[in-house]
């Protein structure tokens, strides 16, 4: 398994931002690790990778053991090394953080993963077949993780993916600057090598029915993620680009992508920041992010906010879009209302309230919205119990349908959706499915 690098050349404006650590840098950084016992970084990691253990192995030049340590806890270690909000997780919990610089855990993990993907080693020999079969629907991080963990235990796993390529948001929804697409594809390839049958271009619910799968498989895991960006419900909406599609385009054809001169991004989450990054890096003269609350309520991670400010992107807070203004069927401006904050809403954040008569025009020739994702449509199709539109699961990740499990963003009714949480869901669900299938005999 190799990790092609050509398309993600660091010279490209959207090429991977951080260079790999050199062997010497990795060694020096690894020797800084104190090797805490029952380490807080490991606790903070949703997949509980034994971080001191994998770092120690880097310092002793045991990269094979290091990679194994990571992958045993997290099959998507290469993606997580790049996209995890480490400041909120492992590195944020590092005991050296208070007075020193935390260990660069993410970059060390990437060092071990890069070794693994460039050295063609096989860490997990095939297990004895159990005769059980599981269908996993959706080849994003949760699906890949669940499928891989089940395959490692000897189950026959078929992973259905409606898109052409596996990887989910890692392949389609994370900008190349953070994770080159090749990394996500190599990871999916590795899962395939564990024995998972990945079937792409098949949409469950359209090409295959769930009941068909229920008849054929002993268990089903839904890792369908969420949908595209919901509607703003404003006049001229059809002229607003979907943020996720914007990112997809930047990954499949950045060089032919149409970028406005004056781009407005609606939203202030991490996806919105990615959209603004694309616009700015691919040539927009001015990029403005608008948000109906303030920087205190925005959902983007603080380090992402710092990053985008340094990219030269402007902000207009307390602004709510109400209408797209056109000229010759081209976007000319976004009309907004000024907001003010009032009492907290159900999300615990102050709710924005429009100031009457405060309409103003933001000049724009391209508008991109990134205000969250639509809830999983499969939930209603299958009559699954939901919670705020997300699929409701019990503590074993089982839905209200026996033998149908779910995990990843599609069940994330609470807390921030992230790749690493999805990987952990997949891992825990795989354990639960395995227990059920094995105990049932």
């Amino acid at each position: 398994m190799t990790l092609p690098r050509a398309a993600s050349s660091p010279q490209h404006p959207l090429g991977e931002l951080l260079p790999p650590l050199t062997q010497h840098e990795a060694f020096v950084e690894s020797t800084r690790c104190l090797m805490c016992y029952d380490a807080p970084c490991t606790h903070a990691c949703p997949t509980h990778i034994d971080i001191p253990k994998f770092i120690k192995k880097i310092s002793t030049d045991n990269l094979r053991g290091s990679a194994r340590t990571i992958l045993e806890a997290n099959l998507l270690g290469a993606t997580c090394a790049r996209v995890c909000p480490v400041q909120q997780l492992c590195e944020g919990a590092c005991v050296l953080g208070s007075e020193h610089k935390p260990i660069a855990i993410g970059r060390l993990q990437r060092h071990a993963m890069d070794y693994f993907y460039s050295s063609k080693i096989n860490l997990f020999p095939p297990a004895k077949a159990t005769g059980k079969s599981i269908a996993v629907i959706g080849a994003g991080p949760a699906g890949l993780s669940c499928a891989g963990e089940l395959a490692k235990r000897g189950h026959a796993v078929t992973l259905y993916e409606r898109r052409e390529q596996p990887g989910g948001l890692s392949t389609y929804g994370i900008i190349g600057l953070r994770e080159p697409v090749e990394v996500a594809l190599a990871e999916a390839e590795m899962i395939k090598c564990l024995g998972v049958n990945i079937v792409t271009g098949k949409d469950v619910g359209t090409n295959i029915s769930v009941s068909e799968l229920q008849n054929k498989f002993d268990a089903i895991f839904l890792s369908v993620g969420l949908g595209y960006t919901p509607s703003l419900d404003i006049p001229g909406e059809e002229f607003i680009l979907d943020g996720l599609e914007y990112i997809e385009q930047s990954k499949s054809g950045a060089d032919t992508m149409q970028i406005g001169r004056n781009v407005v991004v609606v939203g202030a989450g991490n996806t919105a920041i990615d959209c603004a990054t694309i616009a700015k890096r691919l040539g927009a003269e001015r990029v403005t992010m608008i948000y109906r609350r303030t920087e205190n309520e925005m959902t983007a991670y603080p380090h992402e906010y710092d990053f985008i400010k340094r990219e030269g992107v402007g902000f207009d807070f307390l602004a709510q879009p109400i209408r797209v203004h056109l000229e010759n069927k081209s976007v000319r401006a976004l009309e907004c209302l000024r907001m003010e904050l009032s009492e907290n809403d159900s999300s615990g954040r102050p709710s924005p309230r429009p100031l009457p008569g405060s309409e103003f025009l933001l000049p724009a020739d391209q508008i991109v919205k990134a205000i969250g994702q639509k809830k999983p449509s499969l939930a209603t199709q299958l009559n699954l119990t939901t919670e705020n539109g997300f699929i409701k699961v019990d503590e074993h990740f089982q839905t209200n349908l026996a033998g149908v499990y779910a995990g990843g963003d599609c069940v994330r009714a609470r807390g921030a959706a992230s790749t690493v949480m999805a990987v952990e869901d997949g891992k825990l669900a795989a354990s639960a499915i395995h227990e059920r299938l094995v105990s049932r005999g």
Binding site: Y37, H43, H48
Partner: protein
């Protein structure tokens, strides 16, 4: 400002720091530059018998990110012709009258050879001679170096030959590759030597190459033991220095001792002085960083002496020697326990695992509600910085059970976080020596020992 000058067996130098006889003092050019940098003296790389050297002669031991915690070498004595060395010694001494120039010598073990080399050295105007009885490789196979130093009789005999003709101070340099370094030192005293120096390098194999399975360093497919030196050997050198200082024969002889073995910083230097050295020789750290290190050796030592109120080097020499004793003289009633400063603790839990796995299991993890919790007690679904940091238990010493072993103190990565607190044990001071005289049965019989412990309230966890 403290006066750093020394008079070592009649050899004067403006500070106690001499280049040890080694590669840094291999030529006039080098010694000249070392003196420009501020070195007080130099023991010339050993001159004497003809030799040929090999490539890949230095190996090194690195630890973590720290390079060259120790070096080992199979380099022989000077491979430059004798007359060239003698000429350069004379030139350097003429150019630097205030510095100590000492010639190290090693020749075939005959009176003629030694008489000849001593006279030649004296003709250069050198301030002293160091007899190399320590070189552990190559030369020893030819009956020189440590082959002499390891046999006190040879040591005495050759030193006598030297003292028969020597008019300048003679320092006998001892090998550590011996079970009791006191024996060759006493032999040197008996033969009338002017001073002692120690330690020479220690026999060592530095590494095996895990790719080729060859010995490191690889000398044409072979390798072997070489002389080990550098920061890692300092504790061994200090112990041998103390062994000489505590021996009555050597102490009564009042022979000064030139200390060496891993001196890297002024702090190491001060420790050697406190334990009895009155001149200091340095090699590995110079080989690592160059002659410039002498500046901080002098500056740091001088500042420390000023702070402590020591005016001269002799004020420092042997100051701590009287504190060195044997186990049998230690106070068995002395009690110290570990205490962790919670305001400084970063909760790495290294003290916990060290104590729990390898010491006395007396550090607890205490949760916010005060209960003792096992490690990794958190739920598998728990994650994130806030939970990991916010719910992390405190590490607290269970003082009643702490035996004061000091392991936690040693592993703690935070300055001044774990303190060893001296506490009254409630028992009168008593040493093992006293106990074995007053109550010999206690020291010989486990049952009596148990009774004694019960009586004295000694609870061993």
């Amino acid at each position: 400002m403290a006066d750093l000058s020394i008079n070592f067996a009649g050899i004067r130098s403006p500070n106690p720091f001499w280049l040890a006889s080694a590669p840094p003092s291999n030529s006039g050019l080098q010694v000249h530059r070392a003196f420009e940098a501020g070195w007080g003296g130099a023991v010339w790389k050993t001159i004497g018998a003809p030799v040929l050297n090999v490539s890949n002669r230095y190996g090194a031991w690195h630890y973590g990110n720290q390079k060259m915690l120790a070096i080992n070498n199979v380099e022989l004595i000077s491979d430059r012709p004798l007359d060239v060395n003698l000429r350069e010694i004379a030139e350097v001494k003429r150019a630097w009258p205030d510095r100590a120039v000492i010639a190290s010598a090693m020749v075939e073990s005959t009176p003629e050879a030694w008489h000849d080399i001593i006279r030649k050295i004296e003709d250069t105007g050198a301030d002293g001679i160091e007899l190399n009885y320590g070189c552990p490789h190559g030369m020893s196979e030819r009956g020189m170096g440590s082959a002499v130093g390891q046999v006190p009789e040879y040591c005495e005999k050759i030193t006598r030959w030297v003292m028969d003709v020597a008019k300048i101070p003679v320092i006998v340099k001892l090998t550590p590759n011996i079970s009791d370094i006191v024996m060759p030192a006493r032999a040197a005293v008996a033969a009338g030597a002017s001073a002692l120096s120690l330690i020479n390098t220690i026999n060592s194999i530095i590494a095996v190459d895990l790719d080729t399975l060859e010995i490191t360093p690889n000398i044409g497919g072979k390798g072997g033991h070489g002389g080990y030196a550098g920061p890692a050997v300092k504790p061994i050198a200090l112990n041998m220095l103390v062994a000489l200082g505590r021996d009555s024969v050597i102490a009564n002889s009042k022979l000064p001792i030139s200390g060496m073995g891993g001196i890297t910083t002024w702090r190491d230097a001060a420790e050697f002085l406190l334990l009895g050295a009155s001149s200091l020789q340095v090699c590995t750290s110079v080989m690592h960083y160059g002659f410039r290190i002498v500046e901080d050796l002098c500056d740091g030592l001088s500042n420390w002496m000023d702070e402590k109120g020591f005016a001269t080097i002799p004020d420092v020499v042997s100051r701590s020697l009287h504190r060195v004793s044997d186990f049998k003289n230690f106070d068995l009633s002395f009690k110290a326990i570990a205490r962790i400063d919670q305001t400084k603790c970063i909760r790495c839990d290294l003290c916990y695992v060290a104590c729990n796995d390898t010491a006395h299991q007396c550090i607890d993890l205490i949760a916010a509600d005060g209960s003792v919790v096992p490690p990794a007690a958190y739920d598998v679904r728990s994650n994130g910085k806030a939970e990991a940091v916010g719910t992390r238990p405190k590490v607290v010493v269970r003082e009643d059970d702490c035996v004061g072993c000091r392991l936690c103190y040693n592993v703690c990565p935070v300055e001044d976080c774990i303190h060893m607190i001296e506490e009254p044990s409630g028992r009168s001071p008593v040493t093992w020596d006293q106990l074995s005289q007053s109550q010999p049965e206690v020291t010989e019989d486990w049952k009596k020992m148990q009774e004694y412990r019960a009586k004295m309230g000694i609870h061993i966890h």
